[in-house]
Amino acid sequence: MKVALAQISPRLGDIKTNVEMHLDVLEKARRAKADLVVFPELGLTGYTLKDLVEEVALDPESHPLFRKIRARSRGISTVVGFVEERPSEKGLFYNSAAFITDGRILHVHRKVFLPTNGMFEEAKFFAQGRDFRSFATPFGRAGLLICRDFLHYGASYVHYSSGADMIICISAAPGRGIEGGDAFETSRMWELMGEAMSYFSTVFVLYANRVGIEDGVTFAGGSFVFAPGGRLVGRAAYLDPELLLRRVDLSAVRDARKKWLFKRDEKPDVVLRSLERAARAAED
């Protein structure tokens, strides 16, 4: 299959423009024969929303602009980041990612780990997601994560344990630290996690980060694909927009698991029991 990571720079607070941008990229990716196009976190809205959150929130089942994206996903799959508000949960706004195939929403993940420290204030504006759940796609099982979710490695472990072949992380990660090489120092942090998770979970890791600047903050780009075993398949430019297209062969999951027996020998039941004890102890 062919994956496309859409490293775009959305326009802050302007869904209409961003939907058009998504549709353009989808068409471009379709012409390049991509099967799956992954957009960054809050790609439909921009990141630094603050009080704009409530104005850009939408119901993915019914919103006409979201329907446009679904309509344009005939014969292709896409992951889209948006602010979710359901009619059944009015006033609760989630930082969400939807996996869409052929016009159908296969899964919506709500960001669980909302960074709220230093420059981040997500929990001031967003409700917290409460689940990690992998799901079947036309290309094997996938697990969705949003930005900080990926830095809490338990999240990837859940996807791995429930049979994911592919962990897809959408991100709006700002660059920080200028004492490294040709990229912000924080870019290394994401690559390290991508490499480690693909290695020890023997899965594909697709990481789509955004670029652009909002209120002085530069989003670092550097989206990447790691194949099982920590093999870098491709990385997009730091700082600049790009549509990163890479062919991936999902049989690499099987090949890696023949070589490295982590998955066969994994003991989620033991981990779970131990975790329950640890969690209880933390509560006491």
Partner: protein
């Protein structure tokens, strides 16, 4: 309309705010520009109560002789409150500039005047060891009806969370003379200019729209459904959106893990 305020409570809170903020910074004295209008009169009255009249200096800074009533109102108010005051004509700072750089734009001229007043206030702030009290109200701040680095510049602002119509209520409570309370609000940019004429809405209409959009968090559509004129709603929404830059420090390009304004975050009252 914004709800009626309890003026004696607001008076108490703002008097304590002025005293506390100046005191924490090690200041006993406050300074402000007196225009002869409502907002600066209210601010001066609060400052006189908070700091004692002898510790408040009102600078009256007319442009030339074109606004004699405003100057007279400002001087009368200062005498009535017992605060110190000083009148400085800003035309010698303004005219040579526009002689060299002529413009027909009244807005450009008005902005320049506001910034000359600001530079005098900051100079006198240092001379007098007095902190500058801001007089921008919530209505002005929300629609951006003020000159950035001009009349919006200050050390502390006791007025910024009161709509204009609420400032009027407070003014009555504080005994601001009816002459000042009743006159048409003006930025004094040119003779005959009024805020309401320039903005295109009365303060009552404006505050009602702002209260719905900001306090009640209503969207544009809800405001129009509630019976407001679409043109007025759209205009106010646009003014709010286009003036956010006046309410923020300029964005700093983030490079390091700790950046002023982004994640180097300390309280304003740090160590005070």
């Amino acid at each position: 309309m914004p709800p009626k305020i309890n003026p004696s409570l607001v008076d108490k809170v703002l008097v304590r705010f002025i005293r506390d903020e100046l005191g924490k910074s090690g200041y006993k004295k406050g300074i402000l520009g007196l225009s002869g209008g409502l907002d600066s009169a209210v601010c001066a009255a609060l400052a006189a109560r908070a700091l004692g009249p002898q510790n408040v200096l009102g600078l009256i800074m007319p442009y030339g002789p074109g606004f004699p009533e405003d100057v007279r109102d400002a001087e009368r108010l200062a005498r009535r409150l017992g605060i110190r005051h000083k009148t400085i004509d800003i035309s010698p700072q303004v005219d040579p500039y526009f002689a060299a750089h002529p413009t027909a734009s009244r807005v450009l001229r008005g902005n320049k005047m506001a910034r000359e007043r600001m530079s005098i206030l900051y100079d006198y702030s240092a001379r007098e060891k007095a902190l500058i009290l801001g007089t921008s109200n919530k209505t002005e701040l929300l629609i951006g009806y003020g000159t950035i680095h001009g009349d919006m510049a200050c050390a502390v602002n006791p007025m910024g969370d009161l709509y204009k119509t609420q400032v009027r209520e407070l003014a009555a409570h504080l005994g601001v003379p009816a002459g000042i309370r009743k006159k048409a609000p003006t930025a004094g940019l040119w003779p005959g200019q009024t805020d309401e004429g320039e903005i295109g809405l009365t303060y009552e209409e404006l505050d009602e729209l702002l209260y719905g959009l900001v306090e009640q968090r209503k969207c544009r559509k809800e405001m129009i459904e509630a019976g407001h004129r679409p043109a007025a709603v759209n205009r106010v929404v646009r003014m709010i959106r286009n003036s956010e830059f006046k309410r923020k420090l300029p964005p700093i390009a983030k490079l390091s893990p700790r950046t002023v304004g982004h994640d180097f975050l300390y309280p304003y009252d740090w160590g005070k």
